[in-house]
Subunit: 211 residues, 4 copies
């Protein structure tokens, strides 16, 4: 799904091929237009025709560089949403887990990112490539960061070392995505608190909770 890299990973510095070079202007215009629609109206208001028109670009140019409109959407999404919180070792499991979770939760609740992401996850149900791209380019990086915190917590003895770190991540992110996708309850800040409490101490009533 990842398509049309502006600068390929192991890029030779400007290895020029014959023919007219790709228009950087067009690439940006397409992504901008897609971003705007995706974040304001959601994925399925996003039509190739609409993006082309808005970007002042021909449909063919879109399909020359992306295999489908879904691919454009994922690219647009990932590029538009910057990673927010750098992972730092602060010695405190609680903060290292809760902080990034809270940042994401607020991002989904307070900005159009939530709607956009939800509509992409939705699109992923019928388009495996979208699902894949989303996992690789959005979920993956965010989980990887959180996984570091989990690993450090284990090393510090703050978390059982026999528990699969991946599952721990699911316990944190699961409820957030669940609310995002089903909308049965709002994404309150408090959710993260309870989440981490449960994770660390359980919710049984025996006073092991922090003050």
């Amino acid at each position: 799904m990842e398509s049309a890299p502006a600068s390929p990973v192991g890029a030779e510095p400007a290895r020029p091929r014959p023919g007219r070079p790709r228009s950087e202007r067009a690439r940006k215009a397409i992504l901008d237009a897609a971003t705007e629609v995706l974040f304001n109206e959601g994925f399925d208001a996003l039509t190739a025709e609409g993006v082309a028109q808005r970007a002042g670009v021909s449909k063919a140019t879109i399909y020359r560089w992306w295999p489908s409109k879904a691919a454009v959407a994922v690219d647009a999404f990932v590029l538009a949403v910057q990673p927010q919180v750098p992972d730092r070792d602060v010695g405190d499991v609680r903060r290292e887990l809760a902080d990034p979770a809270l940042v994401q939760l607020r991002l989904y609740r307070d900005t159009p990112v939530g709607t956009a992401l939800a509509s992409l996850v939705a699109a992923g149900q019928s388009d495996p490539e979208v699902a894949d791209a989303l996992r690789t380019r959005w979920l993956g990086p965010r989980r990887a960061q959180a996984l570091h915190a989990v690993t450090r917590a284990k090393e510090r003895g703050q978390l059982r070392s026999d528990v699969d770190g991946e599952v721990v991540l699911d316990l944190i992110f699961g409820p957030i995505y669940y609310r995002l996708m089903t909308g049965h309850a709002p994404l309150d800040d408090s959710l993260v608190g309870v989440l981490v409490d449960a994770l660390l101490h359980g919710l049984a009533p025996d006073g092991r909770l922090p003050a």
Copy 2:
């Protein structure tokens, strides 16, 4: 969204109105056809035209009773998937919470119900009525049942009484739906175990876990 009930809730026993009665045959054929497509190919392979043809019914008949193909899909889904586990008071929080969760997890993993549900949640992102119907007719009932178990656990002193029961449900179902929708990891039985462990005792390494 709930449309065209076979027998209304407080239904008088066969109060016949003038006019040709609704064809029970057509109703069933439509729902059967929709179910078949939905469970085998997912929501967006489901077309009104296809259902009509498969059911030997005219498109107009579908639209007479359901406002959109999405409404048909939800009806078909809910009617096809029967509640599996009755809620009983067995005195054990662990089992009362884990058992229904496990049943659902396996249902989503081992049968086409998972795909169907995922595609409906997806459809809900762009169709608020689908989202609503899904909450009311699928998520709601299942959460209500689990909520009883949570309430009993609080009464027995097995769960902190100051924690919002709804949030507890999110901690249980969230990770399951998260995996279902994003597919980043399979729906292993073990997930439920860790889930409930965390919920009750936390995952900190202090031996408070059950043998």
Copy 3:
């Protein structure tokens, strides 16, 4: 096409048959409703459903008594438009031919009858029964009347006796219907004058015309 006579030709006076008698109210309501639509909006704005609703009648009742909506329309048309000018022997070909032609021309020009008739002739192109009914019940009677005048004119020696009377009628009515159906020119009164002039004296310039 002629259907559902209110009182059959050789009608026995109220020979009561078993069962509920036909509702005269329904019959009239249907024809009235059809008339209203036909004359105001034309034949193809006339729908069976619309007539039924307007008449407070069920569609089945319409189709029990008329074979198609076209049949209803023809009935409605013929019943609504009364014959206007009685044929009388006044000794003057010119008046005997021109007067009824002028009456018809004005009827088509100044009342909704024109539009209704045109739309029925149109319907007749694809429905032979409509065409037939129209010939039998509308064109026929009017031609028959005019034919009497033609016959009298021949007897009086005012018209060549070797000319087919039917063709004479076509010369009179043809131009009127032509303008009615194609609308390339309005139905001016003067048309009839020229028509009859030509018929009797020709349009060659030799002074044989009346003062």
Copy 4:
């Protein structure tokens, strides 16, 4: 109504516009298909879906170039039926008027053109654009030609100069269209003879008729 001309009247020779050029193949296939249906089964057996399928063309392509199926039909009709008789000055009113009339009469009687034309005139009753297109593109040209003959006849002193030429045309074409549309009598060749006799000399019995 006139749509999508193959080559505009005052066309610059091959002024290429940007974009994929219109498919001549599709244009022809559509018109051919429409012609075939129109002439064999009449206008209201003509469906956009049918034409599309028969022409191996998508429905959208039809609607891109014609505003309605009626517009396609008129185009198909006019293109399929070539003008048959050139107007020439032969000095003889009788022939100059009777010949084209006879050609048209036979065309309507002996070929499917009659049915097709009748069904288009019919369609014109409910679709003003069809009526208009028909007047402009079919009736008009044929009347214009005949009008020249009438004008010449006036100049030669063979026809009264105070009579509206347009009305003369109605006297000729009216009866033909009348029979075509109502079908009360066949389109015999003899009709034209009587028609022109009447026009020139009248049908009064005074021996002014030609041998």
